[in-house]
């Protein structure tokens, strides 16, 4: 296999342009939706949205940037985020004059667009957005204080943004049918329904909507084809002229019809990505196993000499580059939860075939190589590891990890496949899993599952048990009354109280999830997404109406697992076993944020910590994970049982602000531990012990996905011997039943330097959580959290 570690000049230029482009908010879709909705009052919402999507495809500015071989953007401009007032407009109105200068993820909006927003768009959508509907419903049922107001159960992921959380069926549907084929299927199926039958009506509207959105994509393809043709006519450079003519031909064929070449396959995926953003601003649209479903096209093109290795690599670079150009605009608060403009496009390589054999191929390696050389933050690269993963593949992965990009995140087949089997997915489809968003196991184009509708945390339950239900930071009673501290005679009694508080948080999370789910179903149906999910056109039902082949979740995400285990272990040891302080004394110290209680603080800090291979504390983490998972599973979403996830993203920071001082010794407001990893700076027994602790958890119980960040000192991966040891760590984690691990391989010194001299580190990428981001595009708080994670460098 030939390797090329230097970027082609074309790609260097495209990459350079990216860094000089400021993220902005695009309002074309908002204008189209406002126009269609205001001109068609009373129109069924399904048809209205499809019509608005079509209108967006008509008015969206189109462009082809210099040197681009993969073209198109849903915002009409590179790095433009698609504003969706029908989902949520309130934060944009509130931040209209400040969003360009906020600390985390600033966006530009032109003054002309601001005027349109103020005069036409905001006034129309007032009272109509899903955000307002959900807010009002939560107020009506009395859960606003614990959700919107305090953020203990944070819902913004589905109130501030579209549904998302989808790996749309590019490989299994678009590649076989194209939008013309999907349209034909919808038209065929329409014949089976009658407007005179009450239960058919919604099906008819849905299928008609699918026809319209397919037309919208076919139209967009034609517009791009014409644009490429026009650009070719103006182009004087014969090479570029040829490329533009080829693009004109490609877009005349796809997205209407299935791809015929490697280039068309990649462009088809890109049109699919765009389609989801015409529908709404969202995140997580993940292309999945590109190395599997695109490989036949590459193989055939290489064999027939239609492309050379070099040309194929250049196309792949152009394709990967595009994923960086769509940000996910969120409110200022939301940007703390998902810092770094991150749109969560997850692409996975390696793993097994549907028959359980190794699936690694030349394209898997080519993607790894290109990601390594390109050094961009998107797509989020994941790699699947199983017992028979070739050592050569693992060596290549190690090499990419050693570059410090935080890529690829490693997912282990055995537990991940079991997670999906436990949700009723067939063995073949489970073996064909991909990752969606940050770390969530998914089935490309067959499954629909919101992997998160709420974000909350474990240790707040301990705070509630200590305060009889009061959130210390607000003084408000948000938990359950579980009794005065003096009533707990032993650790078990206290633990029962904590679990009652967890029950309460889970119940509220389930209610909040249902409110969000119903609101999206009722006012934000998603015909565009549904068109490329197996089962929807066949059953004439939208994904929000349960149309997908598989439904699962939604998931509820809990963070701060380590803080929970460390706090419970400290209480058990210090209060109940050693009886050094009473529960009341401890609680008083916590209320004072340990100020004036240095002895209690030291005792808390000195207690055993999760992540050092001590059963005494690790099993508390395993226990609570299992407990919460079982409880979450008892609640049913609209179409499936709810699930637990521990993919913290950066929510460990805002969730940490909600929680006061903890018996673990963590002070009030500090970030909670992320994912299922040890708390910041507490895993002091080396990486093997940290892995051992983590692998005591029942990973399969967090079926929505889990993440384990490990920070490695770069020296560890410098020598061949170091790399061999790294691979042994990975293989051992696989043997121990680990489901996921990801690495930050940048020294603390370098990160501190980057913090001080951001201009020198514009392209420094770090693993944030379930994703990587440009370090200098993160606010200081998030940067500090990354720096504070324990660096494994001992040798």
């Amino acid at each position: 296999m030939s390797t090329s570690s230097v970027l082609p000049e074309r790609i260097q230029k495209i990459r350079e342009k990216f860094f000089t482009t400021k993220p902005s908010i695009s309002i074309y879709r908002a204008k189209a939706f406002t126009e269609v909705a205001s001109q068609n009052p009373g129109m069924p919402i399904m048809l209205m949205r499809a019509k608005a999507i079509y209108r967006t495809a008509e008015i969206l500015p189109i462009y082809i940037d210099e040197g681009e071989l993969i073209i198109g953007h849903p915002g009409g401009k590179s790095r433009a985020g698609v504003f969706s007032p029908d989902v949520c407009w309130r934060w944009v109105e509130k931040e209209l004059d400040t969003v360009h200068q906020r600390v985390q993820d600033p966006y530009e909006i032109s003054s002309e667009d601001k005027k349109t927003l103020r005069e036409e768009i905001f006034p129309f959508w007032k009272g109509r957005s899903v955000d307002e509907k959900i807010n009002a419903e939560m107020a009506a049922i009395g859960i606003l204080p614990i959700t919107y107001d305090s953020g203990v159960v944070d819902c913004e992921v589905k109130t501030g943004s579209g549904g998302g959380d989808l790996s749309p069926g590019f490989g299994n549907i678009l590649f076989h049918k194209g939008y013309a084929g999907i349209k034909r299927s919808a038209e065929e199926n329409l014949k089976n329904y009658s407007m005179s039958c009450a239960s058919d009506i919604d099906c008819i509207y849905f299928l008609q909507a699918v026809v319209m959105v397919c037309d919208a994509m076919i139209l967009l393809g034609k517009r791009y084809s014409a644009l490429a043709q026009a650009c070719a006519e103006r182009e004087s450079n014969p090479k570029r002229k040829g490329e533009l003519l080829a693009l004109a031909e490609i877009c005349a064929h796809i997205p209407a019809y299935p791809p015929r070449s490697f280039h068309e396959a990649l462009q088809m995926i890109w049109f699919g990505q765009i389609s989801i953003y015409l529908e709404e601003n969202t995140s997580g649209t993940s292309p999945g196993r590109v190395d599997q479903y695109v490989y036949p096209y590459l193989k055939s093109d290489l064999e027939s000499k239609r492309v050379t290795q070099e040309e194929a690599r250049e196309l792949l670079y152009c394709f990967l580059m595009k994923f960086n150009e769509i940000p996910w605009p969120l409110s200022e608060a939301g940007a703390y939860y998902f810092a770094g403009y991150i749109p969560f496009f997850n692409l996975v390589v390696g793993g097994q075939t549907t028959q359980g054999k190794d699936a690694t191929n030349d394209l898997s390696y080519m993607i790894l190589e290109c990601v390594k050389t390109l050094k961009m933050y998107q797509p989020s690269l994941a790699a699947r590891i199983h017992n028979n993963t070739p050592q050569a593949f693992l060596i290549e992965i190690t090499d990419v990890v050693s570059k410090g990009l935080g890529f690829p995140a490693l997912h282990f087949d055995d537990p991940t496949i079991k997670m999906l089997l436990s949700r009723g997915i067939s063995l073949e489809d489970a073996r064909d899993y991909c990752l969606m968003g940050c770390v969530e196991p998914y089935v490309h184009g067959k499954l629909f599952r919101w992997t998160s509708a709420v974000y909350t945390n474990f240790p707040v339950a301990i705070e509630f048990a200590l305060t009889n239900g009061v959130l210390r930071s607000t003084g408000k009673s948000l938990g359950k009354a579980t009794g005065a501290l003096s009533s707990f005679k032993n650790f078990l009694e206290f633990e029962v109280a904590v679990k009652k508080q967890l029950d309460h948080i889970i119940e509220v999370s389930a209610i909040a999830t249902l409110v969000s789910q119903r609101a999206h179903r009722d006012i934000l149906p998603k015909p565009m997404s549904s068109a490329i999910v197996e089962g929807c056109v066949e059953s004439a039902r939208d994904i929000m109406q349960g149309g997908a082949k598989y439904n699962s979740g939604p998931g509820m995400v809990f963070v701060g697992l380590a803080d929970y285990a460390n706090s419970m272990a400290a209480i058990k040891r210090i209060v109940f076993e050693e009886q050094r302080f009473s529960l009341t004394e401890l609680s008083t110290a916590l209320a004072a944020n340990f100020e004036g209680y240095p002895e209690i603080e030291r005792a808390c800090l000195a207690a055993l910590k999760y992540g050092n291979d001590h059963d005494e504390v690790d099993l508390l983490a395993a226990d609570v994970l299992d407990y919460v998972s079982k409880r979450a599973n008892q609640y049913r979403g609209l179409y499936a049982n709810m699930e637990l996830g521990t993919l913290s993203v950066t929510t460990n920071i805002p969730q940490g602000k909600v929680v006061s001082a903890l018996p673990s010794g963590r002070r009030a407001g500090m970030p909670l531990a992320d994912g299922i990893g040890p708390a910041q700076g507490t895993d002091i027994s080396g990486p093997t012990a940290a892995i051992k602790s983590v692998d005591k958890l029942n990973h399969e119980s967090t079926s929505v996905g889990t993440l384990f960040n490990m920070k490695l000192h770069p020296n560890l991966l410098k020598s061949d011997r170091g790399k061999a040891n790294f691979m042994a760590l990975v293989r051992a984690h696989n043997q121990l039943g680990g489901s996921q691990i990801q690495f930050n391989c940048i020294s603390r010194e370098e990160l501190l330097d980057a913090q001080a001299n951001p201009q020198k580190y514009r392209s420094l990428i770090v693993r944030v959580s379930g994703y990587s981001a440009f370090f200098t595009e993160l606010c200081k708080e998030v940067q500090d959290d990354i720096i504070s994670r324990t660096e494994q460098k001992q040798w």
């Binding site: 030291r602 080396g686 093997t688 042994a728 051992a732 043997q735 494994q792 040798w795």
Partner: protein, 286 residues
Amino acid sequence: MTITKHKAMIFDIQKFSIHDGPGIRTLLFFKGCPLRCLWCSNPEGLTSTPSFFRDQKLCIHCGQCEHHCPSGALRVIGQEMSVSEVMKILMSDFIFYRESGGGITLGGGEPTMHSEFCLELLRQCRGQGTHTAIESCLYAPWKTIEQLLPWLDLWMIDLKVMDDKIHQMATGVSNTLILENMKKLFLAANVPLLLRLPVIPGINDHLENFQQIIAFIKEHDPLGRVTAVELLPYHRYGVRKYQGLQMEYRYSEAATKDDQYLQYLNEIVQLFSTQHNINCNLGEQL
């Protein structure tokens, strides 16, 4: 697991050690050493009894240490542990040894001072299929070394200096026994031997010392058991520990950090490698 009466004073068990033998290892530090090297970087391992370590940065001189230290400045270093207690910790990382070709390494201090304990421990490790290594200065009765020989897969021999006068001055003991044991080990061992030379400026970094070592190997290792020589550059990471232990750091270093010195060390590496065909490398420094 067999329960034995053997106990030993252990001052640290360090997991994920990757510079003391192949693969991922756990390093067991025995307390007690017959040598008193001036530059010793593990002074807490010198005595066979528990040491009291007082962190001068943390200590608030409150005098309460008689009961318990409220600031966490005072620590007792060294804990008597049984073979089964140690085995439990060592074997908790077995899967990492298996995946990496690693295992356990006995170090210290001087492990041969705890020969009965080591013997029992090594037997059990061998029984569980774990690679075993020892780091020793060989200042021990030959009988002790001979006894351990069948149970070890790798010996790392800490050699200080060939000149006996300097040896006595710098370590407090003569090297006669050490060199005799080395000769015997070269002939008796059928496992790889690794020579580790801490390079201490002004004490053993003179060219002559290295030439003598090369000559010694050439003369006494006809079977080629010495598979590698590792030069360990001097470092000061242990210095702070001396204060906490209320001990005096007696070695005053010469300037060593410059490029010229590194160049010199590289020349020594070349001397071993090219001229005498002994695999030699410069140990990594953190």
